[in-house]
Symmetry: C2
Amino acid sequence: MPHLNNMRCAVLGAGGFLGTNLCLALRPRVASLRAFGRRQSFPSALHGIEWISGDFADPTSVAAAISGCDTVFHLVNATTPASANIDKLADLQSNVAPTLRLLEACREAGVTRIVFVSSGGTIYGMPRQVPTPETAPTDPVTAYGISKLAIEKYLGLYEYLHGLQYRVLRVANPFGPYQTSLKGQGVIAAFMHQCAAHEPIHIWGDGQTVRDYVYVTDVIDALLCAAEHEGASRVFNIGAGQGRSLLEILDAIKQVSAQSPEVQFSPGRSVDIPRSVLDISLAREELGWQPQTSFDEGMRRTWAWTIAQQQEGTAP
Amino acid sequence: MPHLNNMRCAVLGAGGFLGTNLCLALRPRVASLRAFGRRQSFPSALHGIEWISGDFADPTSVAAAISGCDTVFHLVNATTPASANIDKLADLQSNVAPTLRLLEACREAGVTRIVFVSSGGTIYGMPRQVPTPETAPTDPVTAYGISKLAIEKYLGLYEYLHGLQYRVLRVANPFGPYQTSLKGQGVIAAFMHQCAAHEPIHIWGDGQTVRDYVYVTDVIDALLCAAEHEGASRVFNIGAGQGRSLLEILDAIKQVSAQSPEVQFSPGRSVDIPRSVLDISLAREELGWQPQTSFDEGMRRTWAWTIAQQQEGTAP
C-alpha cells in the first residue's frame, strides 16, 4: 500500500458525518482526494475539495468517483438501522447491490484497497459476550446489520478471488462535530441539539440502554491506520471499549451545557439491544490504534461545535 | 409445530434433485402438499402431486404456492457455486432478494415455519477446523455461499421480529436418485452418467479433493426432522461426517459398475476448497438424526437408478 502522502483517495458517502470529518483529515495528508455523495450536510466544511455529486445506486457516477484512485473509503449508508427493518428488501437493494457494483468497478479501475465502515453496534445482534470481540457470532437483529455483514463477506470474496485488498472497521457509536440529529442516528447530537434549542430531551426506553460512544477524530484515525495497515487481520472493532447509558449521556450534557433540560421518556423500541460495548484489543494490537480523546473532552468539543452552529444559524 | 400428518406443506424448488426426493417422502405423510418450481427434472416422479409452475423471482407465483400452508421448504437454487462467482450481483438478485419477498409473503400468509437448505460445502469457506462444526467462522469464497449466509441471517431476523420459525440445514454433498449431471453440481451423478455412457470420466484437479457425500434419503430424513423440531438450535450441519476424495469416489464407481472407465484429469479450479467435511454432532444430539445409509449402499442404489434411467432412455 502507498503511504498516505502518496495515496490517491476517493471517499464515498463524503457528505455525511464521518465522511466530512474524514475528508478534512485526508486533505492535508494525501496526494489526491475526491469526495462523492448525494449531498453535503455542511457544504462550507468541504469547500475546496473535489466533489462529485451522485447517487451510490448509479454505477456511472460511482465509476467516475473512483477513477484514478488507489484507495477507496466506503462510508455510504443508504438506510438507518430503524428504516432498514421497515423495508428489508429496499435496504438490500440500496446498500448491498450497489456495493457489489462498486467492487466490480474497483476491480476494473485498478483500485488496490477499499476501507469499509461497518456497524459495531448492529452486526453482532444480541451480544453473548460484552465487551464483544470480532470473533463473536454475528446474528444481527436488523436488516441494516445483515447488509453490513453481507458487504463484509463480499469484500473477503473480492480479495480472495481478485486480490482487491480490504479492511473493515466495525465502528461503535461515533459522536462529534458534523453529526446531525436528522436521521435519528446520533443520540448525542440529538440530545445536544434539543438542549441547545431549549427543547425537552427525548429518551426512548428507561435510559438504561448502554452503548459504546467513540469520539469522531478517533474513528478517523482508525480509518487512516486501516488504509495503510499491512497485517493479517481484516476486521477491527473501533469504539471506546467502554459503555455508557443514556442517563449518563444526559448527565454529561447537563455538565457541559450547564443547563437542566426537561426530559421526556417514551416506550423503548423492541429491537433495542440493552447493552453494546466493543472489545477493541485487536485494533490496539494490530493497527497500533487507540482512542486518544476522553469522553468528557469529546463531549466538550461537541457541545462547543453545537453552540457555534446554533449561533451561525446553520444547525440542521 | 403440527406433526407431519397434520402439516400443510409447500416445497419450493420441488422439481430438482432434493425437491423431487422430498416431495416423494412428504406425500404419504402430510395433510397436504404443494410443489413449486420452474420445471420438473423428472415429471413422472411427481405425477399426482399438486404442481405450481413458476419462477422464484415472481412474487405472485410464490404467494400462490405458499397460500394455505403452515410449513414451507425452501430448496431453491437459482445459481450454482461456479456460476455465482461469475456474476455475483445476479446471484444476489436471484436468490437473496426473492427470498426476502418470500419471507414477507410467509408472514402475510400466516406460515408458521420455514425450513431452508443451506450449503455445508460453501458456507464456511476455507475451513480452519475439519470436521467443521456449525460454530466455525463463515467466510465463503463463493458468492453462492454468501447468498446462503445472508438468507440464514434474514431467517433469524424474521423469527426475531415476526415470530416466523425457521430451521436451516447446511447440507454437505448429497447424492442419489434424481440427481442430474447437468448443472455441474453432483460429481457422483456426473461420474456415474459418464461411466454408464462409456464415456471418459472427467476429474478437475488431481483427485485429492475431499468432500462429505451424504445419501439423499438421509438428507430428506433430516428435512422431516427439521420441520417438527422443537429444540433451541436453528442451524444444523447435515452430512455423512466423513470425507472421501474424488479418487475414492472413482474407485467406488468402478466397484458398483464392475467397469474400468477411462479417466481424464484437468487442472483444478482455484476456488476449490481442498477438504470439506462436516461435524454432524449437533444434528445427532438435537434432531435425533443420523445417517442410516452407508456410503457403499448409497452408491449401489444410485448406480442401479442410473442404469435404469439409461435403459429407459430418460437420463438427462
